[in-house]
Symmetry: C2
C-alpha cells in the first residue's frame, strides 16, 4: 500500500535553514525516503540506542529500501556512552563505512544517542548531514530539537560539543507505548516545563493530562505543541546568547540536585521535577507568583510518578554550591529562570541564596 | 618603552565576522593585549607546541601582564598529537582551569597545534574564542588561516573537526629564524603554491626568493601576500563548498604521495612539492599550460631543498589509488586543481588517469 507521504507538521527556520519536523505514527518507516534526495550522498550511518534495536532496524530497513548504503552502530544505553572514546569509535566506523561529507548520520534513540550522534555529525569530516529520530518523550519534546550536541567529561556534562542543526527530525509517537513508565515520566517533567513557559491552554492541557503516554492523537498534539514552543525559542537564539535561557526553567536547581544526589540517584527528568518546584517557590518570593501555580504543578508532577520530595540523604548546601558554579552562570551568584505567572518568564534572575536554600530544604519535609 | 601598538595588517571578513591578522616582529608579546577586552572573559588556556616552549612562555607572560588568568598546556611536537585522546586531555585541563564560554584558547605552534587547539576552541563548551599564534612558515601562510580545525583518525587525516574562525591571528616573523631548515622549506612549498595560484608579481617574488627565511622586511611582506591570497579565497567560501578547492593545488597528488610513502617518509610540504610538479605536468596535457612554468617551479623548489624526484620505493599505483579515494573527491575519479597559466586556475578537473600516472612515474627518473 503506497500513499503520498504527509509533509512536516512543523517547519522551523533556524539560522537560515529550515528544520522540518515529521510527526506521525509509522514515521519510522519513512526515514529513508526523507534522507534520500538529489542533492544528498548515498550513504548513511544509523547510530541506535542499544535499548531500542527494533526502532533502529526499522529505520535502517527504510534507508536500504530508499537505495542508500547503510551502516548501523549500536550505542550502549545510558549517559556513560556520551564520551569522546565512543565518539572516536563511531567516527572510525563511519570512515570504514565510507561515509562522506554529503552523507548523513541518523540518530535513533533518546537524548544520549541524539547528543552523541549529533556531535558525530557535527564533527565527522568537519560536518555531515544529521537526521534526528527521537524515541523517547524527552528527546521528542526537547533534546532532539535545537541543535545542541555533545559529550561529557568527568569534569562536567556536555563540556565538548557543537551546535549542529538536524536536516530533518522524525518522530513516531507509537514508540512511546514501549517505554518504561519511569522514562515516560521523565519526559513529562519537560512537558510540564513547557506548560509553565507558555501558560494558557498548553498549561491546562498538561495539568489535565491522563495516565502516560495518553491517547495517541492527543499525544501527537502535545508533542507538537511542546516542539513548537522549543523551536520558536531556538529560532530566536540558536547559539544560546540570550532568550534560549528560558528553556532552563527548573534546570539550575535540577542540575544541582542531580549532581548532589550522585550516580544512581535521580534521573534527569526527576531532578527537573524537583527543580521546577524550587523555581516556582523562589518565583513567589522574588516575583510574587501566585502560590497556587506551584501547588497545581506539584499535583501534576506527583500524579505522573515524578518526585516532589527530596531524598533526605541529599546535602542541601552542596546543591546550592553546585548551583552557584553552574556553567551557565555568567558572573551572577545564582542564575535562575523565574516566573511572574505561567507564560510570563524572566531569565538571568539572581535571587537571594537564602530563599533558594529554603525552597530546596522545604522539599525534604 | 611603551608605544601605541600597530593595527592589523589584514582584516578579512569571513562569514559576517572580521578576522584581523597582526604581523610584526615582537607581536608575540602583544597577544595578551589583543585577547583582553571589555566583551571578553578573563581566562585563557595557552596550548603550545612542545618544540617552541619559549614562544609559549612569551605569549603566556603577555596574557598575565594583561590581567588574564592563564593556564598553559604543552602538546608533544608532531602529527601524532592530533588525536581525540589529546583533545580530551586539553578539554579536561581547560575545565579544571575554569575556562568558560567567553574565555579563549590561544594556539601557539605549527599546524598540529593550530588544528588541535582550534578544534578544542570549536568544541569546548560548544565553542569558545580562538586566537591563532602560528610559529612556522607553513602555519603563517596556510594552516592558521581559514578556520579549518581537527584531529586525525587511524583511517584518515582531519577526519574529526570543525570550521571555527580565529578571533585574531598573531604572527611574529622573528620566530622563523629559529626554525630548522627542513621545516622552513616545507612552509615554502605552500608559498610556491600561492605564487602559482596568483601569478604575476607574487610568482616573480617567489621565483627570485633568496635563502630561507630571507630578509626580515621582505619575509613579512611575503607572508602578508600569501595570507591575503588565502583569506580572499576563504572569505568567498568558508565551508569549502566550491572555490576554496583551488587551495588544494598540488594536494591531491601530494596527499597520495605522502600516504603511499608512509610514516617517516615525506613531510607534508615535501609531498606538496612533488604534488605541484604532478599538477603542472598534468596541466600541460589537459589545459596546454606552457611547460616552462613547471621547469621554473622545479628550479625554485629544488633551490630551497625541496624534493623534485620521487623516492623509488614509493609505489606509483598506490599513489594513484589513494588519489582516487581522496576524501575531497565528490564522485569524480580524480579531482584535481589544474592551471592554464599561473593565476588562471580550474578546480574539479578530472584528468586522464594514465596522464596522472605518467606524471608521477616521471618523478622517479
Amino acid at each position: 500500500m503506497s500513499t503520498t507521504a504527509p509533509g512536516p507538521v512543523i517547519t522551523a527556520v533556524i539560522g537560515d535553514r529550515p528544520v522540518p519536523v515529521h510527526l506521525a505514527v509509522g514515521a519510522l518507516d519513512r526515514v529513508g525516503a526523507l534522507v534520500a534526495g538529489a542533492a544528498a550522498g548515498d550513504g548513511v550511518i544509523v547510530v541506535v540506542d542499544g535499548g531500542v534495536p527494533h526502532a533502529g532496524a526499522r529505520v535502517a530497513a527504510s534507508c536500504r529500501d530508499a537505495g542508500l548504503r547503510v551502516a548501523v552502530e549500536a550505542v550502549p544505553a545510558g549517559e556513560a556512552s556520551k564520551n569522546l572514546g565512543e565518539l572516536e569509535r563511531l567516527a572510525r566506523a563511519a570512515a570504514r563505512a565510507g561515509i562522506r561529507r554529503r552523507d548523513a548520520v541518523v540518530a535513533v534513540g533518546g537524548g544520549v544517542v541524539g547528543d552523541l550522534a549529533g556531535f558525530l555529525a557535527a564533527s565527522y569530516q568537519r560536518g555531515v548531514r544529521l537526521v534526528q529520530v527521537p524515541t523517547t518523550l524527552l528527546a521528542m519534546v526537547d533534546s532532539s530539537l535545537g541543535g545542541k550536541t555533545g559529550v561529557d567529561l568527568p569534569e562536567g556534562k556536555n563540556y565538548v560539543g557543537a551546535v549542529h542543526q538536524p536536516e530533518v527530525v522524525v518522530m513516531d509517537p507509537a514508540v512511546l507505548a514501549t517505554l518504561p513508565p519511569r522514562e515516560l515520566a521523565c519526559g513529562f517533567a519537560e512537558v510540564v516545563k513547557y506548560g509553565l513557559l507558555e501558560g494558557g491552554d498548553l498549561m491546562e492541557m498538561v495539568a489535565a493530562w491522563p495516565a502516560l503516554p495518553g491517547p495517541a492523537a492527543e499525544v501527537a498534539d502535545l508533542i507538537r505543541r511542546c516542539a513548537e514552543c522549543k523551536l520558536a525559542v531556538v529560532s530566536q537564539d540558536e547559539f544560546d546568547l540570550g532568550r534560549r535561557a528560558i528553556l532552563n526553567l527548573g534546570h539550575t536547581a535540577g542540575h544541582g540536585i542531580e549532581a548532589a544526589a550522585g550516580y544512581g540517584g535521580y534521573h534527569h527528568g526527576e531532578a527537573i521535577s524537583l527543580g521546577l518546584l524550587v523555581a516556582l517557590r523562589v518565583s513567589e518570593h522574588a516575583l510574587a507568583l501566585d502560590p497556587r501555580w506551584r501547588d497545581r504543578t506539584m499535583d501534576t508532577l506527583a500524579r505522573h510518578g515524578l518526585p516532589v520530595t527530596l531524598d533526605p540523604s541529599v546535602d542541601v548546601d552542596e546543591v546550592v554550591e553546585i548551583m552557584s558554579r553552574d556553567k551557565k552562570a555568567d558572573g551572577r551568584a545564582l542564575n535562575m529562570v523565574l516566573l511572574r505567572a505561567p507564560g510570563d518568564v524572566l531569565t538571568h534572575q539572581d535571587p537571594d541564596p537564602a530563599v533558594v536554600r529554603a525552597a530546596i530544604e522545604e522539599l525534604r519535609s
